[in-house]
Amino acid sequence: MIYVVLFFLAFSLVLYVLLAGADFGAGIIELFSSKKNQAITKKTVYRVMGPVWEANHIWIIIMIVILWVAFPVYYNIIVIYLHIPLTLMLLGITLRGVAFVFRHYDAYKDKSQILYDWMFKISSLVTPIFLGITFGAMISGKIIHTTTPIDYSFKILYIDSWLHIFSILTGFFFAALCAFLSAVLLIGEASYGDKKIYVKKATIATIVVVLFGFITILYGYISEIQFVIDFVSNLYAMTIILISAILLIPLWSSIRKGRRVLSRLFAGSQVLLILIAALIPHYPMILFTTDGGISILENIAPDSVIKVLGISLLIGGCVILPGLFHLLKSFKMIKILERH
């Protein structure tokens, strides 16, 4: 049953990264667009994301609940030592959600839109950066897990654990990944004339992703972060990364041919592959402290809890996934009908 729970944890993570990632990315693209293109992006994003927007962001709640129910010790370490980046990420999530709704539901479209837009764009960039920082901090092995926090200063325990170049690079890498996902998604949704905008954005995003990915790994390797060293020397991880890079070729050819489903599939699988590559060299260790890795399979909740959680996840999955699928399908179908 623990593997059912782990599956749902991984599943929620992947869906959150893909769906919410594309959503964050839309804000980032808007941020780096000219004024005219911003308005186009805003409209396209709302049309694509509107109906599914709420659902996209619930995956993180599912993740958190699974973590605290099934892996309480893991969760405990994260919420204590990464308190600050998590709080800042929450701030971003809150402001972003509010801005999204405000800019579409305000009864009057006047000057206040400028404020909502800025709130939306800035928090779209900041939130994934802090999400990436949190993940970077989890794997960088700089968390000091101690039972006597009094022996350490605030800075060493609660700031140095996450505020360092490697985690910041991871943060930027993740934000770039979001922009990349979003750009590919938007190419398929934009009207004919606007397609060029997103093809250009997608090109830039791809370059930035590759660049940041390379710099992050290089920096991690040079500064001897154990995770990165093991990552680089792991044959599977490297093969997967290579496949992900090669997939860029069919991705670009399908974009050029205007195959929107196929291009999304490629972009999605690339991100999926990057996630897998980042997780496998050390599985089941995803959290690294100064004392080494902590296995996610150790310190799990008692069997009775895992069993009940697994069953409720399966039941919940049976209710939610068809509903979600139907939702996505309904609105996509409608769009195709409208076009013809």
Binding site: E54, I58, I61, W68, V79, L91, Y105, V305, S312
Partner: protein, 437 residues
């Protein structure tokens, strides 16, 4: 400020806000589908306009409720890591089911908001109903998790360890039903009166009277029925607390000495040092009767329990008085509404009638928040009743006070923004021509 106080304040502050957002987001869909049904039945354009403007309200509150709920799901761990480490697995059941219910709600809302003229009419209406039902289900599940803190069950506590965990027993803990019933009725009362009050104001100001009268009637019907039913649920809760958490009951009533045939105090100023309650109205033997159904039953006083296990008596007592007082007031107003409807329809033309409901608009929420203060402050010093103290659960990360300030700033801003947005919705509703969409 000490970390513990800051963490408690932050939790209280965020919960107070979340409760308002969540209640409106959970109850308003019901108003919306009633208006929608009336539109389908009568094809009266007013109902369609009303449905669409309420749907915007639902969307705004759903999202603010969702983001403040996301924040809370993190805060539980960020502020109370020791609590979550042990309690997380035990109360995982209501939270994971709540996650599922919330998801269903989000999916249904997606269909509802964007489905106008796109999906079959009947199916569209039903998605609205599902939004409401799954919202109430989430509310009940979260309250069940809170019930577990008051009535911990589903585990054996041996040498400081939680063993033989039974998550299903924890979900159906002894407090879940009374608390969930009380909270669901309270949510309907508070939201019903708040929404009705807003529309009453518009009628009072003679703006778009036809629409606002219809809106008022739908909202107040829900609120009034819930307010009239609430005392039954309150009685169940009181008897339940008398049995399980006698300290809390004693604090609610500022009852210091154990006695038989204990009097019920209405109002009064509590002096915790001298253990005296002045300026009160005492109803002889009423407390014994309300708590145990027997005028001569013995009610335990605070002095029967060690002093370090007392909650803050004054806060709990005052909050309880506020809740009961306002609850009674709303009940009477509910009765008045039904009398008006059945016998005195001319009262609907009197400005005084509308003025009354304008004044009552915030009272339901004030009562509801007061009720939560009773149950949460009344549980102190325990975070898990008789098992873990709040001070042992708080995070070791120093400087929580800054996080508290940040939340105060953020949520204050959010409240101002949501209020402003709502005002603009109503303004647009009254001057449909001036809206540039």
């Amino acid at each position: 400020m000490e970390n513990l106080d800051a963490a408690r304040l932050q939790m209280a502050f965020t919960l107070i806000f979340h409760i308002v957002f969540a209640c409106v987001g959970m109850v308003m869909p019901f108003f919306m589908v009633v208006a929608h049904k009336k539109w389908l039945n009568t094809r009266n354009q007013i109902y369609l306009t009303l449905t669409k403007s309420w749907q915007k309200g639902v969307a705004i509150f759903f999202v603010t409720g969702a983001v403040s709920g996301t924040a809370l799901s993190f805060e539980l761990g960020l502020l109370w890591p020791e609590f979550m480490k042990h309690a997380g697995p035990i109360i995982g059941m209501p939270f994971s089911l709540e996650g599922a219910a919330f998801f269903v709600e989000a999916i249904a809302l997606g269909f509802y908001l964007y489905g106008w003229n796109k999906i079959p009419e009947k199916f569209h209406w039903w998605t609205g109903v599902i939004v409401g039902i799954s919202g109430v289900a989430s509310g009940i599940l979260v309250v069940s998790a809170n019930g577990w803190m008051n009535a911990p069950s589903g585990f054996d506590y041996i040498n400081g360890e939680f063993l033989n965990i039974d998550p299903i027993k924890a979900l159906f803990n002894p407090a879940w039903f009374t608390q969930a019933l009380h909270m669901t009725l309270a949510a309907f009362t508070a939201t019903g009166f708040a929404v009705a009050g807003i529309h009453a104001y518009q009628v009072f100001k003679k703006r778009n009277v036809a629409l606002h009268k219809k809106a008022f009637k739908i909202a107040i019907t829900f609120g009034a029925i819930a307010a009239i039913l609430q005392p039954i649920s309150g009685d169940l809760s009181a008897k339940d607390i008398a049995e399980r958490q006698p300290v809390k009951l004693a604090a609610m009533e500022a009852h210091f000495e154990t006695s038989k045939g204990a009097p019920l105090y209405i109002g009064g100023i509590v002096n915790q040092e001298t253990q005296e309650v002045t300026h009160k109205i005492a109803i002889p033997k009423a407390l014994s009767f309300l708590a145990f159904g027997d005028f001569d039953a013995e009610v335990k006083g605070l002095n029967d329990f060690p002093e370090d296990e007392h909650p803050n008596v004054a806060i709990v007592h005052y909050a309880f008085q506020v809740m009961i007082g306002l609850g009674t007031l709303l009940l009477l107003a509910g009765v008045l509404f039904f009398i008006t409807l059945s016998r005195k329809r001319t009262w609907l033309n009197s400005p005084k009638f509308w003025l009354l409901f304008i004044v009552l608009a915030p009272m339901g929420f004030i009562a509801l928040e007061a009720g939560w203060i009773v149950t949460e402050v009344g549980r102190q010093p325990w975070i898990i009743h008789n098992i873990m103290k709040t001070k042992d659960a708080v995070t070791p990360v120093p400087g929580i006070v800054y996080s508290f300030y940040m939340y105060v700033a953020l949520y204050s801003m959010l409240t101002i923004a949501v209020t402003w947005l709502m005002a603009r919705q109503i303004k647009a509703l009254n001057n449909p021509t001036s809206v540039a969409v």
